[in-house]
Point group: C2
DNA sequence: GCCGGTCATCGAAGCGCTTCGACACCCCCC
DNA sequence: GGGGGGTGTCGAAGCGCTTCGATGACCGGC
């Protein structure tokens, strides 16, 4: 590591070629003979050259950075969001891009600012609400974007998500096959439904539809995240519906509480009550007993979002909606 | 929003001044008369001008971006990390900087790369281990850095953290004052101690020292994060030490399991066993009963880390170690 | 043996900004 | 009324890179 930073000019001199030749070796935009390419590449790592990101961005009009817009709202399960975020970073690196982190507190101005200052080339948005105030902004922006989740009016946008309706349906189908005739869905906290967060509602819709299709009795309830409230909800539910024998839990933070509360209410899992969760794998595996679950494929969603945004950067047309099919993993809770 | 992007040249023409004058209005590096400044500022927002980040970085040798290096390791409690991350982003914006997110899977190469390409000006590292492989790299880098957490050999670095030893001590003192004479610490999973993560060890050291100082009996144990293991640990503990009446829990993921297990073991909190937690406020409040806790001041730590790194960017000398004093919040578990 | 066409490389012109030195201008003091 | 010292503003030179048009060198075909 020399002290001063190495420029493309020094690489060119060292390799005995023109600056532009070095640039073409790096970008591959013109053919370069094998011999010259070799000499240039050797010089590059002899000198430890890294292109200056700012200079490159200025000249090429590409920053090679995408923004990850990650509001951190009440009721969102942070570990899941982080899995997405981590997947996005990893995927972006495969396309030689870095990731700028934008949080909510700057609001839409942050998005506008980084777009206008050419700090980033594109946007990946997480935790999208049905009526999301970032959406109108995205529509007027020249920079491409991909949403993880669906707003109410997704036409003209590019959205990726797990097919939560199918997930809710799969859980119902699984319980129905096992012979359960009265089941319940414990979902997100009430505030999340009120905010109109898409995935919570879509799971519920899938649940309701599947309940009808399988001719079983089903009730969908929001679910708060303190032990006491979970306990109260469950004991009320079990008192009012003594034949309830299947539970779908779509709330990572409450999963543990649900199991504790059932234990305390004297119900064994799965003998008395079968439980299916929609949650990340590690949460399901760590529970006691390990839960049959629909896993949330965070890595896959993140990777797909980045792939789509890169295609859009290349000017390609991409599908507006991408729904990833859920996978049910059988464990010992059903 | 006009289609084309507005440059400083257009602002200058619109305001009837030289390009350099606009630049000086923006940077404040030379005195500009009030009248001229006004005209320039008016033109800026009439045209909707935002400086081009790359051009600025190229000319000024400052990207106005800091990197947040956030490995996501097993056993780390993600919500806490995200609180830090979010605090760092918010604080950075106050200094007109943005935040680039770097995760672990690129390893130290990622750090080297973004430094060499002048993508970022400085680094904030989270989740620092005692023997952290990023530390030697930081020492040889020209870019300033601040660590959240302490490595084994922090001399010459700048580190910020909660004073975990004091936190452990405060918990012991609190329980001792309440008259408990035999207490235990349930800490991080064993793997975290083995990895040499500083905060886990420092809490344990503070606990051990305070136990001696207060002449009570105390045992420090690692604590896994599945309900079954927590239950097993606790039942063994209570069997072997029937007079145990105070528990310090320093493991966010296990807090809920500890309370469930105690309930199941027939121990009331706080009547039979008093529990103090070291965890974020929301976790403590959401528990049942709400836990007396030492709160982890994520916002403050993040803010302080950014403040320090900005000082270093300005060439100022900053203290090597910054320890934030823990605050004990009394709730109903003791 | 000359011509047209590749192929590989070069040189120079910017990209949009910061910064340095220069230079009016004005005011005050002797 | 001329000199000295601030102020406020300007012009131009880069920062390190990409990209476009130009230029040789070399090849095969007639």
């Amino acid at each position: 590591m020399s002290g001063r930073t190495v420029t493309i000019t020094e690489v060119a001199r060292h390799a005995g070629v023109a600056v532009s030749t070095v640039s073409y070796v790096l970008s591959g935009k013109r053919t370069i003979s094998a011999g010259t390419r070799r000499r240039v590449l050797d010089s590059i790592d002899a000198l430890g050259y890294h292109p200056h990101a700012g200079a490159r961005a200025l000249a090429s009009k590409r920053a090679n950075v995408i923004a990850l817009v990650l509001p951190l709202r009440a009721g969102m399960h942070v570990p899941v969001l982080m899995r997405f975020a981590s997947a996005v970073v990893t995927a972006a690196r495969r396309y030689d891009h870095d990731v700028l982190l934008l949080t909510a507190d700057e609001g839409t101005d942050g998005i506008r600012r980084v777009a206008a200052s050419a700090l980033v080339d594109a946007f990946v948005l997480m935790d999208v609400e049905l009526d999301d105030n970032r959406v109108p902004l995205l529509r007027e922006l020249a920079e491409p974007s991909v949403l993880i989740g669906f707003p109410a009016e997704p036409a003209g946008l590019t959205c990726v998500d797990l097919d939560f309706a199918a997930a809710g349906g799969q859980c119902v189908a699984h319980l129905a096959e096992r012979g359960h005739t009265r089941i319940a869905l414990l979902g997100a906290p009430a505030v999340v439904y009120e905010r109109g967060t898409g995935f919570a509602r879509r799971t519920r819709e899938g649940f309701v539809a599947a309940v009808a299709a399988h001719r079983v009795k089903g009730l969908a309830l929001p679910c708060e995240e303190t032990f006491d409230e979970v306990y109260a909800t469950l004991s009320r539910l079990l008192r009012d519906q003594p034949d309830l024998s299947g539970l779908v839990v779509h709330n990572e933070a409450a999963v543990g509480h649900v199991l504790s509360a059932l234990r305390q209410l004297g119900r064994r899992v799965p003998e008395d009550v079968a439980v299916v969760a929609i949650c990340p794998d590690d949460v399901a595996e760590r529970a006691s007993p390990p839960l049959t679950s629909v896993l949330i494929p965070a890595e896959e969603v993140g990777r797909e979002a980045v792939r789509l945004v890169m295609e859009k950067l290349d000017g390609k047309i991409v599908p507006e909606a991408t729904l990833l099919t859920p996978q049910l993993a059988l464990r010992s809770s059903t």
